[in-house]
Symmetry: C2
Subunit: 412 residues, 2 copies
């Protein structure tokens, strides 16, 4: 007997046929005595349709975030009603509960709420009555009693947090891929599915561009020590389990995976005085504008004139804001020029195994140089190494690095 | 300064354009210092669309009433979000609140909930902050915290009950007609709009087929002594105020109006023994099957054999259930036959003024006989007289009776 939280995204419940299929699948897999909580998103394009509707009132509906949350939370409410009904038509007692009803307490930052507490008594009560409990993902309730949505990746976060609060045995995230791969399988021919990965490594993979899981839900799993099983909606094969530690026979992974991110841009501020405080000047201005800066290199342009260049990367979505900020600071610092490059990409290797394994970086650079791929910036963290390269080389780079570290194609 | 509750139905908020028009209209009419609560229904055909969606899961979604309520309550939630947003784009502070959020407490009879209490503190708080409060009609929350819909006419009931709980000055019901008429204006050429009508008379009109207001909301108005102003969505002219007593210069109304109801059927059980208890036998069986019986006549068929006929009417929607019940009882009583007539209709006159005014009934029968319309059954209440006639004669009958009591066409 186990308590399992299962999360299905919008594409898995896009039509009533798909909702029936999800219900049947869950019942097929359910063992006698298992307690099951379902967390679901809005059906298919519902959220986009609701946003379109709001645009009939105003071109900028997100100026009214409270009312957007009131509007958008209806999407999941429709899904849970239909899925609970589907279970019942199959003879399985079930009950639908909205985010507020499961005690999902959030702050009041509408459209980007953060969970501050969960009081899941009602969920446990309904489970104990023999119900499958169908919960609206992506939503909670603030101290005033108003509905709040959790922003990007919110349904995954709901599911993992609820699993934590219920002390569930596992949280299964059903998605359109069948697990976490050592590299994006659409890019790397040899990419292989992992059986397990640690929260720590998964977070670093996600931060560096591996798109399957939003970091928020992985952090939530880490906080509550809930194993997160990422698996396919379309098959019953096991996927990848994200957990605290490997449970398998110890293996000496050199690295866990190769990540890449094409949604980056490079900004170079050329010819600024090399005096104390200039880094602070630039990066505090960017921080004020909520722009995250990633890779940073400072290099001397002219040692006699004591003039330097400052080069760094930002997410492509932040580029226009960043450019405005940097242009102003550059003027103030009498910089020679500000250059922007958008045709760049970041490739990274991730793995706790690289700690105390000094040959790893050299092998990565060697793989790139063997394909004559030029490295523009290098940055490292405790468990990752990243290189900025031309975006046209991404596919070749990911394959070269992956082949270096994963020379054969078995599942890990 | 006044506290006004305004209710707009689904056709008034069917599109975002109409929602904007409602917001503008309400702001145009709002006097400085007025506190305004809006109660709205789901947009246009939303409720029907949601029911269709549920039919993708099961042909009989209403077997799952709790989940239907979870599903259907999203309809009003979409309307209130958009309408609150509309007010804000016009510079008017506004806030949307669901039924549960306004403290609309109901019993747990899903899809047919009854209001048991209202705790509208949040509404008053938001009004006091200067907001227009936009409330989802048709919905409340049961003691378990589950959403419950109020059934037919539910949004009107929400509005009037909320007006009562807030001690509002008035409750305005916006509809596609511009008030209550002395007869259905689609039928009676001379029908005239009333300025006022009492709850008592309005309830009798509604019971006898006048369709503008559901009896539940009128009863609620009577309970809380809240004047209900029934008026048009499309014009700013005053409509009809339903209230405890007439405030106008006393007028000697003979009758207040003519109602008609074509949704009735006649059942005749012929040739049953005229012994004590046969009426009880038939009507208690119908009561058990939740069939309301309206007009009843018992007449002697054969005085020597002591055999009688029992004739009565039921709502057309109950006919098939009623027929099954009556057939069984008739068998048991060895009745000669059970006859059903569906081409019948009821015309009625209503008015407190007929008390102690014995000529009224005779004038009604006279009006019918002058058109050679045969009366099948007559029934009376304290403030009404009804006649069952052939449904093909309804229009002529309503006009003849109306002309008799309202010989000229002024507004009352």
């Amino acid at each position: 007997m186990a308590l399992i939280v299962k999360k299905f995204g919008g594409s898995s419940v896009a039509t009533t046929e798909k909702i029936m299929a999800v219900a049947k699948r869950v019942l097929d897999e359910k063992k006698p005595g298992d307690q099951v909580v379902m967390v679901v998103s809005a059906m298919g394009d519902t959220t986009d349709e609701l946003i379109e509707l709001a645009k009939g009132i105003t071109k900028e509906p997100y100026r009214y975030t409270r009312e957007m949350d009131m509007l958008l939370t209806t999407g999941e409410q429709v899904s849970i009603a239909l899925l609970a009904m589907a279970f019942k038509t199959l003879g399985q007692p079930a009950v639908s509960l909205t985010g507020p009803m499961v005690g999902m307490k959030t702050d009041s930052v509408h459209t980007k709420g953060r969970i501050i507490d969960i009081q899941p008594e009602r969920v446990q009560e309904e489970l104990d009555k023999g119900n499958i409990v169908v919960v609206a993902g992506f939503q909670g309730v603030d101290p005033a009693g108003d509905p709040v949505t959790l922003g990007r990746g919110g349904s995954d976060t709901s599911a993992v947090a609820l699993a934590g609060a219920l002390k569930a045995d596992t949280c299964e995230i059903f998605t359109d891929v069948d697990g976490i791969y050592s590299a994006d399988p659409r890019v790397a021919k040899g990419a292989r599915k992992m059986k397990e990965i640690t929260y720590f490594e998964m977070l670093e993979m996600a931060r560096l561009g591996a798109g399957v899981m939003q970091p928020r839900s992985v952090e939530m799993g880490q906080l509550f020590k809930i194993p997160i099983h990422v698996r396919s909606t379309f098959t019953t094969k096991p996927g990848t389990i994200i957990r605290e530690d490997y449970t398998m026979e110890e293996k000496d992974f050199e690295i866990r995976g190769v990540a890449h991110d094409e949604k980056v841009a490079k900004i170079a501020v050329l010819g600024i005085p090399n005096t104390p405080g200039i880094a602070h000047e630039i990066f505090s201005a960017l921080a004020k504008a909520s722009v995250d800066v990633d890779m940073i290199v400072q290099s001397i342009r002219n040692i006699e004139k004591n003039v330097t260049d400052m080069v760094f990367t930002v997410a492509i979505d932040d580029l226009s804001v960043a450019k405005d900020v940097v242009d102003k600071v550059a003027d103030k610092l009498s910089a020679i020029a500000v250059l922007i490059e958008e045709d760049v990409a970041k490739v990274s290797i991730v793995g706790a195994g690289m700690l105390g394994n000094p040959g790893i970086a050299a092998r990565m650079f060697g793989a790139l140089s063997s394909k004559e791929i030029n490295i523009d910036i290098i940055s490292t963290s405790e468990i990752s190494i990243s290189c900025l390269i031309k975006s046209s080389c991404v596919k070749e780079a990911v394959n070269a690095i992956h082949d270096e570290f994963f020379p054969n194609g078995q599942e890990q």
